[in-house]
C-alpha cells in the first residue's frame, strides 16, 4: 500500500485516534469544569451578598434586559440571597466593553433597598499594574453603601464621587458607569423582583 491511499488512511487514523482521546478527556472533565464555574460564581456571591443561608445560585430570576440586534432577548440573572426565607439581597452581573482592553465583567450585590453591599470583578484584561488595580479592595470597597440617588456616579477626575487610580482612569470610569447602569436596572425592576420573591 503506497501513494495517495496510504496518506489518506494514515492521516484519517491519526485524526480518529485524536478525536477518541479528546472525547474521553472531555467527558471526564465536564463535571469538574462545571463545578469550578459554579464555585467561582458562589465565591463571588459570598463576597457581594449580605449574610444568607440558601444557595443563591439555585435561587435566581431572569429578567429581560433588552434585545440584541437580531431581536433576541438579552437576559439578566438576579441571584437572591435569603436568611430564614426572607430576602436579604440580590446579586447580578454586569459586563462593560468600555475598559482599556476587552470586557470587564463584575458582580454587584445590593440589599432590597438598592444599596450596594459589595462589588467583585469577575474577569478583565486591564493593564497589569495599572488598570488591574480595580480588583483591589481599596477600589472596590468605596462602592459599599452607595445608592443610585444622592451619589455622583463619576470618577473624581470627572467631578464625581469615586476615586480613580493614578495612571489609569479608563478602567475605573468604565466600572463606575457599569455599576450605575446595573443599579438603574435594579431600581426599575425592584418591585418585580421583590414581588416574585414573596410568592415562594
Amino acid at each position: 500500500m503506497n501513494g495517495l491511499p496510504r496518506l489518506i488512511i494514515t492521516l484519517t487514523l491519526i485524526t480518529v485516534g485524536a478525536g477518541l482521546l479528546l472525547s474521553l478527556v472531555e467527558s471526564m472533565t465536564r463535571a469538574p469544569i462545571a463545578e469550578q464555574r459554579r464555585l467561582e460564581t458562589l465565591r463571588a456571591l459570598q463576597t457581594v451578598l449580605p449574610a444568607f443561608d440558601n444557595s443563591p445560585d439555585a435561587d435566581s430570576v431572569n429578567l429581560v434586559a433588552g434585545h440584541d440586534k437580531k431581536g433576541r432577548e438579552l437576559q439578566r440573572t438576579f441571584f437572591r440571597g435569603r436568611l430564614d426565607g426572607a430576602i436579604t439581597g440580590f446579586a447580578f452581573t454586569v459586563v462593560t466593553p468600555e475598559g482599556y482592553s476587552g470586557n470587564i465583567g463584575m458582580m454587584v450585590g445590593v440589599d432590597p433597598d438598592g444599596r450596594v453591599v459589595g462589588l467583585e470583578i469577575l474577569n478583565h484584561a486591564e493593564t497589569p499594574g495599572l488598570g488591574d488595580k480595580i480588583t483591589r479592595s481599596e477600589f472596590k470597597s468605596q462602592f459599599k453603601g452607595k445608592t443610585l440617588d444622592g451619589v455622583d456616579w463619576r470618577v473624581k477626575k470627572d467631578g464625581g464621587d469615586f476615586d480613580q487610580i493614578t495612571g489609569a482612569t479608563i478602567s475605573p470610569r468604565a466600572v463606575v458607569k457599569a455599576v450605575r447602569q446595573g443599579l438603574q436596572f435594579f431600581h426599575d425592576h425592584r418591585a418585580e423582583l421583590l414581588a416574585d420573591g414573596a410568592n415562594q
Partner: protein, 197 residues
C-alpha cells in the same frame, strides 16, 4: 549519546528560549509573574513529552509527505487535553494563562522537536529529549517571570519581598519590559558562557 545527555542538552546548551531563541511569543507574553511562567512551562513540557512519545512511536507509520499535519494533530490533541484538565483542576492558573494555552499548539519548540528529534529517534531518547527541552523551557520562563515579577511588582510567587516602601518598576510588567528583561538575561547568560570557555 546517553539518555541523561539527551535530557541535559535542553537545560543549557540547547535551551529553547535562551540559546535557540525559539518559542518567544508565549515566553514574552505570559511571564508577568513567576507563577504564570512556571504554569506555562509545565503545560508546555507535558505537551512536548506527550507529542514526542507519540511521534516517536508512530514515526515508521507516518509517511513523510503528511508528517506535518499528522504532527500538528497530535500536538493539538495534547494541548486540548492540557487545557481541559487545567480548567477542571487548576482553575486559577487556567484563568491567568487564558488565551496562551491554545497557542501552545503553535509553539515552534514543540513542532521543532517532533520534526528534528522524535521523528528520527526511538521512544526513550525522544522522551528524554522532550523532558529536557521542556524543563529548560520551564526554567527559562520561571527565571524570566521571577525577574519581571520581583522588580515589576515587588513580589515573588505572590509574596511581598521588598516591603511596602518599594516603588515597583512598572515597565517590566508591561510588554516592552518583557523584551528588555529578556535581553538583559541573554546578555548575562552569554557572558557566563564566555567566561566558562
Amino acid at each position: 549519546m546517553s539518555l541523561y545527555q539527551e535530557f541535559k542538552r535542553g537545560l543549557w546548551k540547547e535551551n529553547a528560549v535562551f540559546r535557540l531563541l525559539l518559542g518567544l511569543c508565549p515566553t514574552l507574553a505570559v511571564t508577568t509573574s513567576a507563577e504564570n511562567g512556571l504554569g506555562m512551562g509545565l503545560a508546555t513540557t507535558f505537551v512536548l513529552v506527550g507529542s514526542n512519545i507519540v511521534v516517536s512511536l508512530l514515526r515508521q507509520l507516518i509517511p513523510s509527505k503528511v508528517r506535518i499535519p499528522a504532527f500538528i494533530v497530535i500536538i493539538a490533541s495534547f494541548v486540548t487535553v492540557v487545557q481541559l484538565c487545567m480548567e477542571a483542576y487548576f482553575y486559577d492558573l487556567y484563568k491567568a494563562l487564558g488565551i496562551f494555552i491554545p497557542l501552545i499548539v503553535v509553539n515552534c519548540v514543540i513542532l521543532g522537536r517532533a520534526e528534528a528529534f522524535a521523528s528520527k529517534n526511538s521512544l526513550l531518547p525522544s522522551m528524554a529529549d522532550g523532558l529536557g527541552m521542556g524543563t529548560g523551557f520551564t526554567l527559562a520562563l520561571f527565571v524570566l517571570g521571577a525577574v519581571r515579577e520581583l522588580f515589576g511588582s515587588g513580589t515573588l510567587l505572590g509574596y511581598a519581598v521588598f516591603g511596602s516602601s518599594y516603588q515597583p518598576f512598572l515597565l517590566l510588567i508591561l510588554p516592552p519590559g518583557a523584551f528588555i528583561a529578556m535581553g538583559l538575561l541573554l546578555a548575562a547568560m552569554n557572558r557566563l558562557d564566555a567566561r566558562r570557555r
